[in-house]
């Protein structure tokens, strides 16, 4: 441990150690790097973090994070509001936006139904989703949820809840990833890909 460091440095190390990907050792290394570059790294980082803490909020429409409410995606008039993509967490929105292939809007559930952990529909933003779809402006709901037991259970539950709205509900395809070598794929993915095969 940083026995010779003052309490301020110890606290910095302890907080950095709690970040994803960091532990006590790497937290110490990160703290040292920041302290060595106080003007060029530590000060801007502290400012950025303070600004994020003060300004970032949860979008009241989709549940994503941004500095405005509604968020930039919800407020962007050029996006196709008839397409609504349902995702588990904000990280999934960022993943979809990285690709840039989806031009519709999002709805963040804030988790998945989990039979094991007893997480029910009331703990997720499913009621808000049904409200958004029921207002008539959505033409298709795309469920972009994990291909896991919990993810697919959630997808089926949402499809059931939305059945009365008569809005088509689709799911992302499952199968061979781009650049995927069959040799490295698990049996489940290969079987799913076979079932979802299409004319060449």
């Amino acid at each position: 441990m940083a026995a010779s460091a003052g309490p301020e440095i110890e606290r910095l190390i302890a907080l950095l150690s709690k970040l994803p990907g960091l532990g006590p050792r790497s937290g110490r290394r990160a703290a040292l790097a920041l302290l060595k570059k106080r003007d060029t790294l530590l000060a801007p980082l502290a400012t950025a973090m303070a600004e994020a803490q003060a300004k970032v909020r949860t979008c009241g429409t989709c549940g994503s994070l941004d500095v405005t409410d509604p968020c930039a995606v919800c407020a962007d008039g050029s996006r196709d509001g008839r397409l609504l993509c349902v995702v588990e967490e904000v990280g999934s929105v960022w993943a979809m936006e990285r690709g840039g292939s989806f031009k519709g809007r999002y709805h963040v559930l804030g988790g998945l139904l989990s039979a094991l952990d007893g997480i029910g529909p009331e703990a997720l933003r499913i009621g808000e989703l049904v409200g958004r779809v029921a207002d008539g402006s959505v033409a298709e709901v795309i469920l972009a949820l994990p291909a896991t037991v919990d993810g697919q259970t959630t997808a089926h539950y949402i499809a059931d809840r939305l059945a009365k709205t008569n809005v088509p509900v689709t799911m992302l395809a499952r199968g061979v990833p781009v650049g995927g070598d069959l040799d490295w794929l698990d049996d489940g993915t290969i079987a799913q890909a076979l079932r979802a095969r299409r004319p060449a």
Binding site: A115, R174, D187, G188, A191
Partner: protein, 250 residues
């Protein structure tokens, strides 16, 4: 070789019952093996793209387990066997059945106590989950099998009151023993209806039979297994009943 349950290093086949994240990349995984019963282990790298597909309830795996001290949490490496639960992803009811079966086993079975019957019952259920006409009845038999393994088996061989072998249509909610129609008549509203399929696989399935079966196994799971542990039935089982009711399968 000695008692297999107490070995500090072993390899076996198992079903994954649950997997909970532990740290950033690992998971604590509950497994059901034939020879060692329910075993928990730390699995490193569980968050990796390679391992996530089979760290799902119902996935069959080869486990290589290692522990330093008997009784402490060991670590394990897992290799998948076959497709696993992804074959059920398009079947909402079967997914609910699988989740409930895994959750009930995870909550009801004690750790490191061999229950080969529970392993085989889960195996039999998973094999038929793709056949919607029969799996709800097999699920009931699975729970009855769990009760049997835990020492609270139903005795449906003859009437508890008269010893008769025929016309068994009730189960006593106190003892879990069958009661014939005639002997049960005065206590009709206090006894649990016994569906024919629980007596014989040739019994056929009528409307209400699955619900009657689930009522019986649910009653005794609550009374003998979860009640003494001061725990309710797992939510997954309640959800299964809801899903079956919505689909008109009870």
């Amino acid at each position: 070789m000695g008692n297999p349950r107490l070995s500090l290093e072993w390899e076996d086949e198992a079903y994954v019952l649950s997997a909970r994240s532990h740290g950033e990349t690992g998971a604590i995984v509950e497994l059901l093996t034939e020879a060692r019963g329910k075993v928990a282990a730390h699995v490193a790298g569980a968050a990796s793209r390679r391992m996530k597909p089979f760290l799902q309830p119902g996935a069959r795996v080869i486990v290589r387990y290692r522990a330093k001290v008997e009784g402490q949490l060991g670590s394990a490496t897992l290799e998948p066997m076959g497709e696993g639960p992804s074959s059920l992803f398009d079947d909402r009811l079967a997914l609910a059945g699988l989740s409930a079966a895994a959750a009930v086993a995870a909550a009801a079975l004690p750790e490191r106590e061999a229950h080969p019957g529970a392993f085989h019952a889960l195996e039999a259920l998973i094999r038929v989950l793709e056949i919607p006409e029969i799996w709800p009845a097999v699920y009931v038999r699975y729970e009855a099998g769990l009760l049997q393994e835990l020492g609270f088996g139903l005795d449906l061989s003859k009437c508890a009151a008269t010893g008769a072998f025929d016309d068994l249509v009730y189960v006593s909610p106190r003892t879990g023993r069958a009661v014939s129609r005639e002997a049960g008549k005065p206590y009709h509203d206090k006894l649990l209806p016994l569906p024919p399929f629980m007596l014989s696989s040739q019994g056929g399935l009528a409307e209400g039979d699955v619900k009657a079966g689930l009522d019986i196994t649910g009653h005794f799971l609550e009374q003998f297994v979860f009640g003494p542990l001061n725990r309710p039935l797992p939510p997954a089982r309640l959800w299964l009943l809801d899903r079956l009711a919505e689909a008109d399968k009870l």
